[in-house]
């Protein structure tokens, strides 16, 4: 069953067409990787899905509902959550508080929000946040200020924050960037665990090893166009993809 | 009568125009709402009086006042923009408010809070054209102010410094990559914009012959209104805005009373901010958070 579908998405900035008619589908429970060389438009696609930018053309359907006319802040209510390429936690709030921000749509109206975090509905959300932090092995850092944490830990906190929204589609923008091999391993295990619980994911990532371990399908973008689609292993062998990354002439590959 | 008011409005507007240009240079190029501008204005005007009191000749007093204001503006650069750029724009704004209070009160501590009258070096010279009386100092200010704005435009458009300033306005990071020495260009911008408003202070004190440590507050607030009306970041907008605010003030005084001026001018400022925050010639992107 298709959970998420993009139809013929187009976006130009100042006359330069950055996204040129991209279409894709993500089935329920699938993990789709969006890969491609720098400047291919991967993050722009995320920003269009998110509502950072408004597409010039095309539809973005989550569970049959078109997100394009919807205000960015309402999209999370339809099950869309994301992590950011450059970490965007609030440095002078604690890890737990940052994670709680992710559950904003479950926090009730203005009056419920004016209650201290340990009362009423906030109490239940706090227990939930602690549970997710524990699952992620981050309990020890719960009370620390987000700004004081190591880079790798902050990346994982961002994922937990996005999960607090109980999303149907989780967008991960370069979850591995800046992590060392060991940190990548920890993150991979964690994402596999989350995936096993049934969360559908779209991942922008450069590390093909990571993509191969997490995702069951990959779409390759180059200059704002889809140039290949298949399993991670298939697209990695695709001549068009290799050319896009290495910039070789197609003829040379024909002989290779 | 109307002709006389038109002339008076334009002459007052010339002062607001200079202040508005100063604000708009800081804002348009550095996204910095620099509240030390009223203090630099005051330093120009007040120190001219103070130096004349000390027995200096007029020219020396004016140059001395401008020099102090220029140094003050460079100090502001060092302690605000230089170390706070790239962060939230509210931080340099708050620091510059600190400088406003610092400079005003330093002058107050030394010379007291009273308004002082400053004699005019031009005497009572004025020119009559039919019914209209033109004060020589005011007229000189209007001419000098307009000449300076043209000079500034020429500088921004043609000189190496102008190119540097424009590239910093695009993005300090890109400017650095392009080989612009940001830490040389920006102090010169502070010097330029600081001198613009300090000179406005000198003109104000020579035209209206009254100085006080807080003389900059009301004038600079109107300069801010002029900048917003014209469109933040636009030099020609500041020119038009300044002249319009000058005219509105003079006509409001005669139609209502001097006490009603602030209601009219700041009511207009508020209305512009609500209805058309980009002003007449402004850039819609400035001052808004970037994505």
């Amino acid at each position: 069953m298709t959970l998420f579908r993009i139809e013929n998405l187009r976006k130009s900035f100042g006359g330069l067409e950055v996204i040129r008619g991209v279409s894709l589908e993500v089935a329920q429970g699938q993990r789709l990787a969006l890969i491609g060389p720098n400047g291919a438009g991967k993050t722009t696609v995320f920003n269009l899905i998110n509502g950072y930018y408004r597409p010039d053309e095309g539809r973005i359907l989550l569970d049959g509902q078109d997100l394009v006319p919807m205000a960015p802040r309402l999209r999370i209510r339809h099950g869309l959550a994301r992590s950011f390429q450059n970490i965007r936690l609030i440095p002078h709030l604690t890890v737990e508080e940052n994670v709680l921000l992710g559950a904003h749509i479950h926090a009730g109206g203005m009056l419920a929000q004016a209650l201290p975090l340990f009362m009423g509905r906030g109490r239940k959300l706090r227990e939930q946040a602690r549970g997710l932090l524990e699952d992620a092995g981050l309990t020890a850092h719960r009370g620390a200020l987000a700004g004081s944490l190591a880079y790798g830990l902050r990346k994982r906190v961002e994922v937990v924050r996005a999960l607090m929204a109980r999303p149907r589609l989780l967008l991960l923008d370069e979850p591995c960037a800046g992590l060392n091999t060991q940190e990548r391993g920890v993150l991979m295990e964690e994402l596999q665990r989350i995936a096993a619980s049934g969360v559908t994911m779209m991942v922008v990532e450069h590390d093909m090893h990571f993509v191969g371990g997490l995702c069951d399908r990959a779409i390759v973008l180059n200059f704002g166009e889809k140039i290949a689609e298949g399993t991670p292993a298939e697209v990695a062998r695709d001549p068009a993809v290799i050319e896009a990354y290495l910039g070789h002439e197609p003829e040379k590959y024909a002989h290779a | 009568m109307v002709a006389q008011q038109l002339v008076n409005g334009l002459m007052l507007g010339a002062i607001y125009m200079m202040v508005a240009v100063s604000f708009t240079l800081f804002f348009g190029c550095l996204n910095f709402l620099n509240f030390s501008v009223p203090a630099l204005f005051m330093l120009g005007g007040f120190l001219t009086w103070a130096f004349v009191q000390m027995g200096m000749p007029w020219v020396v007093a004016v140059l001395g006042a401008l020099a102090v204001a220029a140094v003050a503006s460079l100090i502001v650069e060092r302690l605000t923009w230089r170390i706070q750029r790239g962060g939230p724009p509210l931080i340099p704004l708050v620091s510059s408010l600190g400088f406003l209070i610092l400079f005003e009160n330093l002058v107050l501590v030394r010379w007291g809070s009273d308004a002082r009258s400053i004699p005019s070096p031009f005497g009572d010279a004025n020119i009559r054209i039919g019914e209209v009386v033109l004060g020589v100092p005011q007229l000189a200010c209007l001419v000098v102010a307009i000449g300076l704005v043209f000079g500034l435009q020429f500088l921004l458009a043609r000189s190496k410094l102008g190119r540097g300033i424009r590239s910093v306005a695009e993005s300090p990071e890109t400017a650095t990559i392009l080989g612009v020495e940001v830490n040389k260009v920006v102090p010169r911008l502070f010097l330029l914009a600081g001198l613009f408003c300090a000179l406005a202070g000198v003109m104000f004190s020579l035209s209206y012959q009254l100085v006080s440590p807080f003389m900059g507050d009301q004038v600079a607030l109107k300069g801010l209104a002029a900048m917003v009306l014209g469109g933040m970041g636009s030099v020609w907008g500041a020119v038009i805005g300044g002249l319009v605010i000058g005219l509105i003030e003079i006509f409001a005084i005669s139609a209502l009373s001097a006490d009603h001026v602030s209601v009219v001018v700041y009511g207009l400022l508020l209305a512009v901010l609500i209805v058309r925050p980009t002003g007449l010639f402004g850039d819609a992107g400035l001052g808004q958070q970037k994505l």
Partner: protein, 275 residues
């Protein structure tokens, strides 16, 4: 307690309330440079109601706070659509418009000011300041408070998590307006005389500066800032002219070295661990 100290405590309490009124919007990244204007609205509304209309003092003061809050709601909903530095300019304009109207309004004495007959002493003012602090601490510990800090740091990201950014900012601005009105009404009923000239933009500026000096990250910052600003001249007695010079130099130094202000969240956590 001597009259001298009672006098200082009254000013401290009023400054503390004014500081929290500026803190709420500041915590969400909005500078209100019109706090003194909102105080003036509270002062005049309260004074007219307790004087001309013979309302009980408590009700008149509360009504003054509400009047200022309504003005904040009105101004905020009109101007908050435009964010960032524009709000600083708009509130500044509000301050001057309010002052201009009061100066020309003969029914409230115009430029000669308005005498306030009803009088309150230190105790009710101190209780009001304590209540304002408790409200601020309560809100600071709530999701609302958390959201304010998130907006200040990263408005776009916060919006993507479903926060209605402009509504939260409007709420902070309006509650701040109520507090400013309360500070003004208390001031009017203690000093028995108000004049529009007193509520200048410069006063709004010093309120904002004292909050920023104290730090906007925690609920303690405004308290520290207001205390610093109020008590500084007492520490340098005989040099009261230097008060603003020292204060301004302090603000510049703090903003240069530690733009988060004196009290930060991290510093509080270190203190708590050490204790």
């Amino acid at each position: 307690m001597s009259g001298y100290w009672a006098g200082i405590l009254v000013i401290l309490a009023i400054n503390v309330i004014a500081a929290y009124s500026a803190w709420l919007p500041l915590a969400a990244g909005q500078v209100n440079l019109g706090t003194a204007g909102f105080m003036a609205v509270g002062a005049y509304a309260g004074a007219v109601l307790s004087g001309d209309y013979e309302w009980p003092v408590g009700a008149a003061i509360a009504a003054g706070a509400v009047a200022s809050g309504l003005l904040a709601l009105l101004v905020g909903s009109a101007v908050l659509r435009t964010r960032g530095l524009y709000l600083a300019l708009a509130t500044l304009a509000v301050n001057e418009v309010v002052r201009g109207i009061l100066l020309n309004w003969d029914a409230v004495g115009g430029a000669s000011g308005y005498p306030v007959i009803a009088h309150i002493e230190l105790l009710p003012i101190a209780i009001a300041a304590l209540c304002v602090f408790l409200v601020a601490a309560w809100l600071g510990a709530s999701r609302f408070g958390m959201t304010l800090h998130a907006i200040e740091q990263d408005e776009t990201m916060t919006g993507l998590f479903g926060v209605h950014v402009s509504r939260v900012q409007l709420a902070a601005f309006t509650i701040g307006g109520v507090m400013a009105g309360l500070a003004g009404a208390l001031y009017a009923h203690h000093f028995s005389y108000i004049e529009a000239q007193y509520f200048t933009v410069l006063m709004s500026v010093t309120i904002v500066l004292s909050v920023v000096l104290g730090g906007v990250q925690t609920v303690w910052g405004p308290l520290v800032g207001a205390a610093f600003f109020t008590l500084l001249p007492e520490l340098f007695r005989g040099a009261s002219n230097w008060r603003y010079v020292l204060f301004a130099a302090g603000v510049i130094a703090i903003m240069a070295l530690r733009p988060q202000g004196i009290v930060t969240r991290a510093a509080l956590m270190r203190l708590r661990r050490a204790a």
